[in-house]
């Protein structure tokens, strides 16, 4: 049995993946539609731990099959290698990979204090931008600018760190 939510949850992502490999929006919609219809016929294992990863992997296989049968140009291995981890996979990787967490922490520590402060409020305390405005007294524009600058600098730091620490392998997958 295919849970109903899968279709609504992953349809857009699968269509976008198909578009990424050169299908038009209409073709992508048809492929995804057919994919879910076929999935419905299948006897799914009683419990699928990570539906997002399961659906994406199955869909990639479908794209590879189509690629072969339609004799499309290019290498099907591009599809195989196309790494688009599920939320759960990202979280598991982060939870088990201490080096990776340290790497993000280092990039964060290099930010000026005022940028760290708003980032902390948003991603640790879970404050909305409006709440940060109320707590700090800065205007909406100032909070927004500090958040944007913080994320921008964090990305730059992550790119620099990657070269320095030569942690290319899995970091490439996490922060392309």
């Amino acid at each position: 049995m295919l849970p109903d939510s899968w279709y609504t949850d992953f349809k857009a992502k699968l269509q976008a993946i198909a578009c990424h490999f050169g299908y038009t929006v209409e073709e992508a919609e048809d492929i995804v539609q057919q994919f879910f219809l076929d999935l419905l016929q299948k006897d799914l294992a009683t419990e699928i731990r990570d539906p997002e990863a399961y659906v994406v992997t199955a869909f990639k296989r479908r794209l590879i099959d189509l690629h072969r049968s339609q004799q499309r140009k290019g290498d099907y291995r591009d599809i195989e290698l196309f790494n688009i981890p599920s939320a759960q996979e990202i979280i598991e990787r982060l939870e088990t990979d201490e080096e990776l967490i340290n790497h993000i922490a280092d990039a964060y520590k290099k930010l000026p204090a005022r940028l760290r402060r708003v980032i902390y409020m948003k991603y640790y305390q879970g404050y909305s931008t409006e709440k940060i405005v109320a707590v700090t007294g800065f205007t909406h524009q100032t909070v927004y600018n500090n958040l944007s600058k913080g994320i921008q600098q964090l990305r730059q730091n992550l790119r620099k760190e990657k070269v320095l620490t030569r942690l290319a392998g899995f970091l490439l997958f996490l922060f392309p």
Binding site: A16, A18, Y108, T136, F138
Partner: protein, 365 residues
Amino acid sequence: MAYTVEELVVNDSFIAFCIRQQPEAIAFWNDYLSRHPEELLTMEEARKLVLGLRLMLQQKQNELSAEEDSSEHALYVVPDQPSPEAETGVPHRVAWKKWVAVAASVTIVLSAAYYYKYNHLWQSSATLSQATATAPRSGDAVLSQPGEHRIMVLPDNTKVTLNAGSRLEVSETFDIKDRNVYLTGEAFFDVAHNKALPFIVHVAKYKIKAVGTKFNVKAYSNDRFSETSLLEGKVEILLPNGSSDVVYKTLQVNQKFILNTADSLVRKAPVKTEVLPLSYDDKHQNVETAWVDDLLIFEDQPLSQIKNILERKYRVTIAIASDSVASYHYTATFQHEDIDEVLKALQLSLPFLYKKEGNQITLYK
């Protein structure tokens, strides 16, 4: 319109989508992706950043020790928020002495019972004002809500206390090319000395230029008067004259400059300006800057003016339904009283009635 990685990462709805919290957010971003399939990789990178930041901060929270704040590598800088008690510096036990009864055109005798009652009332009611500290940088703007003070230290070490319902913007080139700030509302400035870069406060109709000094600027857009009061040092009042400014007056200590904008809606009405001495009450408390100490002082002021001050301090809207009530003049001092206590005290001096529905207060005869 497509979002950049940064725009997505800071977007509250996108964050909710990443952590699968709000059905509307999930539906919105799925719909966005189906309309913009080419944004898949941008969204994926943004999602990794959101999840990565959240998890890193959760795992590293043991490093967020308050003692390590000063360290260059502290993960988090605790916002320094002094408690309201620390700010006001008035111990509760002697607070009742601060209750100075209203004495205007009518003299009233307050019985001991009255004091007793109010003493207890006061202790049970919390003051609405609270001071929160902020350290704005060049280009930042700070806003204080009604009922709240903000204490700030600018990059040049100038201390600013922002009164309720005010906004202060610091110029982009502050402390580099200039020391320009832009104020709407009221603020008390303790300007750090720097002769090379004069400190200039811009308000709606004039500018105040200082080198190192203490002064108060009151320039609320809904007040009839805009005032600059000097407590220490020297300031120049600059009035616009075509494209440049002219020095209208160099204020001396204990003087204030007043600009009357009452007729500003009438075309070509001249703006009236004058210089007056500062006011002190019988306890030698300066009236113009009393708000910094959370004191509310009215010196023979009409209720129509008092209304604006109370609205900002107590987060209420006040309508005066009677012209004669609006012109009642009061002289009074309050500290830490709530809005009902203030209104009841004013009623004892020159009587009026009031009704309160939520934050809406109506005064009538």
